[in-house]
Symmetry: C2
Subunit: 426 residues, 2 copies
């Protein structure tokens, strides 16, 4: 049931919401040429991440929310319901960024949840169900690959110890970083990991910037996300032999760089899609020993493969190891899959609730698929799930030029607030 009367009484505060976003963006700020080009580099489980979380916790406590953390460092802020035993409505996103990321990807969803809850309280409305705001750990995967570790472990998609040995570029393991982080947050109440008992949400709503150009191009206010395309990540390691670049004829080499080039050429052919729907990306390359006059003995690269059709994602992804193998001339290779998120369709009742909230607030909207993966992809296996997109300027994301205006974000947050109130009132 929607509650049009109550929803009309709540009004998010655009200035406050934007000021919080900008204050948060100072933590890990990357200077930019213009005010709308300042980026953020805030990797998960770092000092900066903890600083950002403390800032959020301060704001949450100021409006009476209770704080708790689980063993994956997922952070929860709870507005108690009239019925303290009722299952909560969950909203949120993540606070970590790409290494040269923007000010809105992830953090907007968390602060939109906070602003929505504050607007509900300021409307003197006390919903029946608790509303919880969550900040999931390591959604981006920029420091520790893959992303979505917090939501995958919470939802049971993967065991929580799955990534213990994953190391960052400084050789620090995910387990070590997580334990240090939890030790520094030992003053925060701990909660069990996962949707256990009364912690199982009745619904999860994630607000996020679009990270694509559609809403801006069509001059719309929000996107109602119908589902998320599937993603598969792979690590490839090519192993050859070092040799002196001046003395070793090419015919006698086992050059890991040259076999990597052959492998990527073959993968480009494998993933060629005349309709340009299949997304194939090599975003990280490492070559060892990395000396200009030494033939490389090791080349590592990552593959990010995405498609909305599960069958295509399955067949193309499964063909990767043999494609790499067949392309090698002088070296050997190993291919390991590090992430596999199946395409996900969201349920109609949540999508309908968002659409009603948009109509109520006179927001222009459309339905669309998400090209990016999100924590919502894993939540959808636990409870009815939906996402609200705000427009992204020129579709730019994962870059300091990522931008959405104060008005666009406030409008999205307003729709989120109405949706949360609707769901929490049922």
């Amino acid at each position: 049931m929607t509650e049009p009367f109550a929803s009309r009484m709540i009004k998010v505060n655009q200035a406050r919401h934007w000021a919080r976003l900008m204050e948060m963006a100072e933590i890990g700020a990357i200077p930019g040429p213009t005010d709308a080009d300042r980026g953020v580099n805030r990797a998960c489980l770092t000092r900066l991440d903890r600083e950002a979380r403390r800032l959020l916790i301060g704001w949450a406590r100021d409006i009476g929310l209770s704080v708790s953390v689980d063993s994956m460092a997922n952070l929860f802020l709870r507005l108690e319901g009239q019925d303290t035993e009722a299952e909560p409505v969950l909203t949120g996103s993540h606070m970590d960024t790409q290494p040269r990321g923007g000010r809105f990807d992830g953090i907007w969803g968390v602060l939109a949840g906070l602003e929505a809850v504050q607007a509900i309280r300021e409307g003197s409305i006390w919903p029946r169900r608790p509303i919880e705001i969550v900040a999931w750990t390591n959604e981006e995967g920029g420091r520790f690959a893959p992303g979505c570790m917090g939501s995958m472990a919470w939802s049971g998609s993967e065991p929580a110890n799955r990534w213990d040995a994953v190391i960052d570029s400084d050789g620090v393991s995910f387990r070590a970083a997580l334990e240090q982080h939890l030790a520094e947050e030992a003053d925060l109440p701990r909660r069990p990991l996962g949707p256990v008992g009364k912690a199982k949400p009745v619904a999860y709503i994630e607000a996020h910037i679009e990270q694509g150009p559609i809403l801006e191009a069509e001059q719309l206010d929000i996107g109602i996300v119908t589902g998320i395309q599937g993603s598969r990540w792979f690590n490839v390691e090519i192993r050859g032999k070092t040799d002196h670049a001046g003395t070793t004829p090419l015919g006698l080499r086992h050059d890991a760089v040259q076999d990597m080039i052959r492998a990527i050429n073959a993968l480009n052919t494998l993933t060629h899609d005349p309709e340009d729907i299949l997304r194939f990306t090599v975003g990280r390359i490492e070559v060892l020993p990395g000396s200009s006059n030494t033939v490389a003995d090791t080349a590592r690269f990552t593959i990010d493969l995405r498609h909305p059709d599960a069958a295509i994602l399955l067949s193309k992804g499964d063909a990767i190891p043999q494609t790499v193998e067949a392309a090698l001339q002088d070296c050997s290779a190993s291919v390991s899959e590090t992430f596999n998120a199946a395409p996900r369709q969201f349920q109609h009742d949540v999508l309908d609730a968002i659409a009603r909230a948009a109509q109520l607030n006179e927001a222009r909207y459309r339905h669309l698929m998400s090209g990016a993966f999100h924590d919502a992809q894993f939540l959808a296996s636990v409870c009815p799930t939906g996402m609200i997109f705000a427009p992204s300027r020129a579709g730019i994301s994962h870059h300091p030029a990522e931008y959405s205006s104060p008005e666009q974000l406030a409008r999205g947050t307003q729709v989120l607030a109405s949706t949360l109130l609707d769901l929490a009132s049922r």
Copy 2:
């Protein structure tokens, strides 16, 4: 003039020579599976480099050599001649290694000089000319590219401040590293940079391992190097635009990795040589921002190009920028040349002196070209120059498995000692 009588009286000490090589190899040691597979990682101008130099200086002072350092941190150890005003004979090599290098590349030439001088002293011979042993700074170029900075600056091939702004992988500039190093060696006497006045050598002889398979295959003791093939180094930077790997169609990307692949494919075609004499190597690749789910906006790679024929090296090297440019589809690129060492032929009188020394010591020898560049390449523009190669097991170099036996190295050192004595007696 050779001095067969005197030369017969000098005998290098194989056990002492090997023991010093092994003690030196402990500084920066890389553990290996067998005793003959222990490598060394000793980058120039590091704490390890200074530790190695101090060990060498201690040995040199024990046998009465005087020590001095120039403004490029090139280190000189001098055995005074009967005629203190005579121009010296110079020998030596370098002490730095590749990141995963061996125990012999470079350091053998320095310690062979020391052993040769000690053998001459122990033979109670006092040559007319001074003999100086030099350890050139940064021959490898592994930490700061390019290599041979010390010998290039000393010989006047490049100005000494040419590489001030070159940075290592930690962002430390060559100038800063050099100044720190010189500050820590402030107790050592300083000498002017270059072959000024009486410092101009009458000849330069460099002992070095072959780093190729020929001497071992032909069961020879030494190689007399007739010249060094030319080398050109380039840095290529491809600049595109970051985008989200999930949301951006391939047709709209400016993917620096994909244009790098196109460029290397085109360069492979440009440098294809059916005779396999042209050496083309991409040994270092860097991709930014380096996140698996972000399209890269920057890809950098190095090119190492070598050929013994100056005309071929000129035409192929000069075609590199336009080849890269033509291969790009969505990005822009800049190509800069960082090193250019023309092919070099050594003079006959020095080659003949080495051949006579080999005959005198009953060493089996042949003449050959060097595929690797060496400091000798730049010394040859200053004075008559020659090189003595010792065999390399399986031709392996720039790798922990690099190996030459105690007998092979002692024999090469013996030929060096006789050659130095000959040249210093003239």
